[in-house]
């Protein structure tokens, strides 16, 4: 059987890939030019190898409007990790309590947590800000992360998984003498590991990509995330050093993309399975 090459599919898919790769590539190339060249509007498709020094420079010194990029990358990384890990831990505990036990007001607790799904941060910015202010958490790292840890997506996802754990597995563990804590630690969590991996990817990206909340909460440059830093660098566009902005943009994309690509299989499975 001869395989006819499916040209239409290949062309469309290649165009699709180009749609996403091209902007990144152009920005990468642009980052190796000088600011003057860019201001003159000189395009380039090939990155100039000699211009790669801008990356080291930008990591060290940043650009007018924002501090050193390495610090911003660190802040973003810490934020993404804290949010991912924090959310996972809290959600596992809550989902476990709600599915594997019965206690008074259990369903009330579930619905309370469920409500948080309906309240994305954009909808409650002002009042949440004033709460943070009252608690003295403005411009602190906990202030940037804690409000983003509480929402329900992860809890619901874990609940779905926990609901379908086979009854026999639980009974076998009980007969082996495992109590609820041991069961969680030794069996439930390992068995849910692919969900965990998927969630980690989703939450890490979510945490890294936050814009509105850190914008409000961080009032000193030390706490700028990389995303906010870049927008600041662009600033009013009068003194922007465009090549440095471009270099920073590339750097800002590397960690989340790396996480997604390396854990791609679990991520896709977790995203689509979890919605069932």
């Amino acid at each position: 059987m001869t395989r006819r090459i499916d040209w239409p599919a290949h062309i469309i898919l290649s165009l699709g890939v180009a749609l996403f790769v091209l902007p990144i590539w152009l920005v990468l190339s642009g980052s190796t030019l000088t600011a003057a060249e860019i201001s003159r509007g000189e395009l380039s498709l090939i990155p100039r190898l000699s211009g790669l020094g801008v990356y080291a420079s930008v990591l060290r010194d940043g650009s007018p409007g924002a501090g050193p990029v390495w610090r911003m990358l660190l802040v973003s990384g810490a934020m993404a990790l804290t949010i991912a890990v924090g959310k996972i831990v809290i959600s596992i505990l809550s989902a476990y309590a709600i599915t594997f036990f019965r206690f008074p007001f259990r369903m009330a607790a579930f619905w309370t947590i469920f409500i948080t799904l309906m309240l994305p941060v954009e909808v409650r910015i002002i009042p949440t800000y004033s709460v943070m202010s009252d608690l003295g958490l403005i411009n602190t790292f906990p202030g940037m992360t804690i409000p983003l840890i509480a929402s329900a997506t992860a809890t619901l996802l874990f609940r779905q998984t926990f609901l379908v754990v086979p009854d026999e597995l639980v009974e076998a563990a009980r007969m082996d003498g495992a109590g609820p804590w041991r069961f969680l630690k030794d069996i439930l969590i390992p068995v849910s590991s692919s969900n965990l991996a998927a969630l980690f990817v989703i939450l890490f990206v979510y945490g890294w990509n936050q814009y509105l909340w850190p914008l409000l909460v961080a009032t000193t440059p030390e706490l700028d995330t990389i995303v906010i830093g870049i927008v600041k660098m662009i600033g009013t566009e009068t003194a922007t050093e465009w090549n440095r902005v471009m270099a920073t943009a590339v750097l800002a994309l590397l960690p989340p993309v790396a996480v997604v690509v390396s854990m791609q299989r679990w991520f896709v499975r977790g995203l689509t399975d979890g919605e069932k």
């Binding site: 009974e171 076998a172 009980r174 007969m175 082996d176 003498g177």
Partner: protein, 357 residues
């Protein structure tokens, strides 16, 4: 190595009563098979003994100790689940070792027990594999291994063979029997498959809708079923059950299909005309030139024997199992031998013995 006593066990889920007073006493080393159709309560009974459910009333005693209120892990019992319930993320070794680790046995002791069980079950070369890498039969053996290493007082089997294909089932059945005999551990085995029941049990408990109907050895259950339910349940193809009336002063039965047969083992008590159900197994019906005519409806040649289903004018079906392998006639002449009759009261379904007054 332990005795098990169930004392008037009853269980209801909410308003639904599932078990209506089960009494049982297992001898040490005995394998008792609880058999019955789906929904008869046999799994519930097993889970009560396991401690996974609590009885609504009644007591459970293992080695004369009342364990009715004890947690499963404190009854010194081990269970083999229908779907094996292996921990998917642990190796075979760890699956078997888990319960021992929780009980804080020494590593050396754990290794000794696991290796010994692995040897018995031929799992030695699979100890590092995960359940997903094993076949159904291998997983089943790991499930048994997990129970064996616990060295418990009691083994509980919850339909462990129902997920295996037919050939594997036959092999595993023999292995379970061999193992249980060798280890001599008192065992409770639940199944809906009457062949498993007959081959594995030292004694059988037939459950029907939560009520224990007969507790006896397999041969006893086969040859002298206590009621029409047991009669129809044990033995394949199922026993033929025909309606009839007591006649000739209790010495014979007038079958609805027209034949009258004199009892070979003695008269039954009761007035003429009393409604009876007569049982005759398909393998006991005989071809005879002086028998009644049975139109053939369906012939099932099985190779070693032939099953013929005949349909009488009244619509009653009669199943015959013949040793001949070639049946082409459109009707057979059939005789019901009186020495193989089973007599039951039509109303209660209970077996009627001769002479009972």
């Amino acid at each position: 190595m332990a005795t098990l006593i169930l004392d008037d066990i009853r269980k209801s889920f909410g308003k639904t009563a599932v078990l209506h007073g089960v009494d049982l006493a297992l001898h040490s080393g005995e394998m008792l098979v609880i058999v019955g159709a789906s929904g008869c309560g046999k799994s519930t009974l097993l889970r009560l003994v396991a401690g996974l459910e609590e009885p609504t009333s009644g007591r459970i005693l293992i080695d004369d100790t009342d364990v009715t209120n004890r947690d499963p892990s404190q009854r010194d019992i081990a269970m083999v689940f229908q779907n094996y319930a292996l921990y998917p993320h642990m190796s075979v070794f760890d699956n078997m070792a888990y319960g021992l680790r929780i009980r804080k046995l020494s590593d050396a002791e754990i290794k000794r027990r696991v290796d010994e069980a692995a040897g018995l079950l031929e799992l030695g070369h699979l100890l590092d594999r995960k359940p997903a890498q094993l076949s159904g039969g291998q997983r089943q053996r790991v499930a048994m291994g997990r129970a064996i290493v616990r060295e418990p007082k009691l083994f509980l089997f919850d339909e462990p063979l129902s997920n295996l294909d037919a050939t594997l089932r036959v092999t595993m059945r023999a292995e379970i029997r061999r193992l249980q005999r060798r280890m001599g551990v008192t065992s409770l085995y639940v199944t809906h498959d009457q062949v498993e029941a007959m081959t594995l049990g030292d004694r059988l408990l037939v459950l029907h809708k939560g009520v224990p109907v007969q507790l006896a050895t397999p041969m006893e259950v086969f040859h002298r079923p206590a009621n029409t339910y047991v009669a129809g349940f044990i033995g394949a193809p199922a026993m033929n059950l025909l309606a009839g009336k007591l006649a000739q002063g209790g010495r014979a039965v007038a079958l609805e299909i027209g034949e009258t047969i004199v009892f070979a083992d003695g008269p039954r008590a009761g007035a003429d005309g009393m409604a009876l159900t007569i049982g005759i197994r398909p393998e006991h019906l005989r071809l005879a030139d002086d028998g009644f005519t049975l139109p053939v409806d369906l012939v099932e040649p099985l190779g070693s024997e032939t099953v013929v289903i005949g349909k009488l004018e009244s619509g009653t079906l009669l199943t015959i199992k013949l040793a001949h392998s070639h049946v082409t006639d459109s009707f057979l002449r059939v005789r019901i031998p009186p020495e193989h009759l089973h007599v039951f009261d039509a109303g209660s379904g209970l077996r009627l013995e001769p002479g009972a007054g």
